[in-house]
């Protein structure tokens, strides 16, 4: 489950989407997804419109379609669940290609696939147009507890360092002829995991020492602030607002 997470989604660019303040983008993406999720599943055309909206954002941001589609592969596990649904759901059944499928299940599968995919696409667009540092600043501006943002910041800063140490340990193991092939080798792998924990913790203590040596007294100093103008908010919220119109139409038509 944790396997595909190492690749950051950020793509460098100079588009108007890249230039928007991060907290506006975070809020707009979240609002968009909320609207999508609130749309009735029967209004299939609405989801098509949402996809068009996202495509236009991708175009404005200079994010190529191939990149976006490749990243959608992360949702493969729940696609499997969605495919299973028409077979196991309750309710009246209809015949499709000789198979007895539940109507409710088919609607459910469509619901999960459409909303889930749109959600992933929106997230990918957000992550690919916003730098890491900016995302954290944006979260902080949206009133996420500062301590939480700091912890996330350290996690991201040292994620690569720790992963590197893990890689070096693997190389050291393999250089001594060890090859993990089955459950019986778990003891060795767990020892590496244990050593990794100790190293990580000790590094955390050293980082704290370095912070203290530079005057840290319990709360992080404020170095950057993000602000957004009314125009920027409007530009960012164009997406969820358009989606909202579609959603309302979806409910009323």
């Amino acid at each position: 489950m944790g396997a595909g997470h190492a690749h950051r989604l950020y793509r460098h660019g100079h588009s108007p989407v890249h230039a928007l303040p991060p907290h506006t983008k975070l809020a707009a993406t979240f609002a968009f997804v909320v609207v999508v999720v609130s749309t009735p599943r029967e209004a299939m055309w609405a989801f098509g419109l949402y996809a068009v909206l996202l495509a236009s954002v991708a175009y404005a941001a200079g994010v190529p379609a191939g990149f976006l589609l490749k990243r959608l592969l992360i949702e493969v596990p729940f696609v499997a669940f969605a495919v299973l649904m028409p077979f196991v759901a309750e309710g009246e059944r209809i015949e499709v290609l000789g198979l007895s499928l539940s109507v409710n299940g088919l609607w459910g599968a469509w619901n999960v696939l459409a909303k889930g995919t749109l959600g992933v696409a929106a997230s990918v667009l957000l992550a690919s147009t916003t730098e890491l540092r900016e995302l954290l600043l944006g979260l902080q501006r949206l009133k996420l507890p500062p301590l939480l943002v700091q912890i996330a910041s350290f996690m991201i800063r040292y994620g690569d360092v720790i992963t590197d140490e893990m890689r070096r340990m693997r190389i050291a193991r393999e250089s001594r002829g060890f090859e993990a092939r089955g459950v019986k080798h778990w003891g060795v792998l767990a020892k590496s995991a244990g050593a990794l924990f100790i190293r990580s913790y000790e590094r955390g203590e050293r980082v704290h020492l370095a912070m203290v040596s530079r005057g840290y007294a319990g709360s992080m100093p404020v170095i950057d602030e993000v602000t957004a103008s009314r125009a920027q908010w409007s530009y960012a919220f164009a997406l969820p607002f358009a989606a909202l119109v579609v959603c309302v139409l979806g409910w009323t038509l």
Binding site: R203, M211, S213, G215
Partner: protein, 252 residues
């Protein structure tokens, strides 16, 4: 108070860890403003313990430490930590912010410097170590030597009285070593350098202290100390193959 206050004054410093291990048995020395002094000694001599006393991270033993006249203690801790800039051995421990700029800004920002003045300090510090164009990069995009230099900048931005460096030349390739040496020579701040790299000490520091078994075993001109074979052997200090301190003309 005498007109030229020493940058650093350590008197009778003794310390034992909670597990009972005593690391310092009475350390006395002083460093004048503008001096560059090397702190030499074998592993386990107590060098790191001594360094951690200089900015009050360790305390609870006997003796005193004064930085430009100000005693190290609870009362002036923030000011002490501004005056004493420690550059630790692993730059990754010191560069903990998402970008170079924020790391260098961390120290002064913690001391209350804001906005325009903060940016100025950051730019000045980065310029002094020659890393101005890496301002907005994340630390893991830099080479090890570059990270070392940025680590020095993070401390310089606080405009310290004394710069304490823990093994500054370790893991650096010869070119990076030279670059760092040039930077250190160009600074007008007091320098205390803990090092195993004896040629580096000879190149940069006119004076050296040898810390052994928790006390100062020798204090004098670096060239003389390194030329004293008996002294070196007594404290497990060895010169690199082929290096003759007597034949080196001082660059410092």
């Amino acid at each position: 108070m005498d007109p030229v206050t020493a940058s650093l004054e350590v008197s009778g410093l003794a310390f034992a860890y909670p597990d009972g291990h005593q690391a310092l048995f009475g350390v006395d020395f002083a460093v004048a403003r503008g001096e560059r002094v090397a702190l030499l000694g074998p592993n386990g001599a107590g060098k790191t313990t001594l360094v951690l006393h200089l900015n009050g991270i360790l305390s609870g033993g006997t003796g005193s430490v004064k930085v430009a006249g100000l005693p190290v203690g609870r009362r002036h801790m923030a000011e002490i930590r501004r005056r004493v800039g420690i550059v630790f051995q692993d730059p990754d421990d010191q560069l903990f912010m998402p970008s170079v700029r924020e790391d260098v800004a961390f120290g002064p920002a913690a001391a209350g410097v804001k906005e325009a003045e903060l940016e100025e300090r950051v730019d000045r510090a980065l310029a002094r170590v020659g890393m101005a164009e890496f301002r907005d990069r994340p630390p893991h995009h830099l080479s090890f030597g570059q990270r070392r230099r940025v680590a020095v900048a993070t401390v310089l931005a606080m405009e310290p009285e004394i710069l304490v460096l823990d093994e500054p030349s370790s893991n650096l390739d010869p070119a990076s070593r030279r670059e760092l040496a040039d930077i250190l020579r160009s600074l007008d701040v007091t320098v205390l350098m803990v090092t195993h790299d004896l040629p580096y000490a000879l190149e940069l520091c006119p004076r050296s202290l040898i810390l052994s078994d928790g006390t100062i075993a020798a204090d004098g001109p670096t060239g003389e100390l390194l030329s004293d074979d008996a002294l070196m052997r007594a404290h497990r200090l060895e010169l690199p193959f082929g290096f003759d301190p007597r034949s080196v003309t001082m660059g410092a």
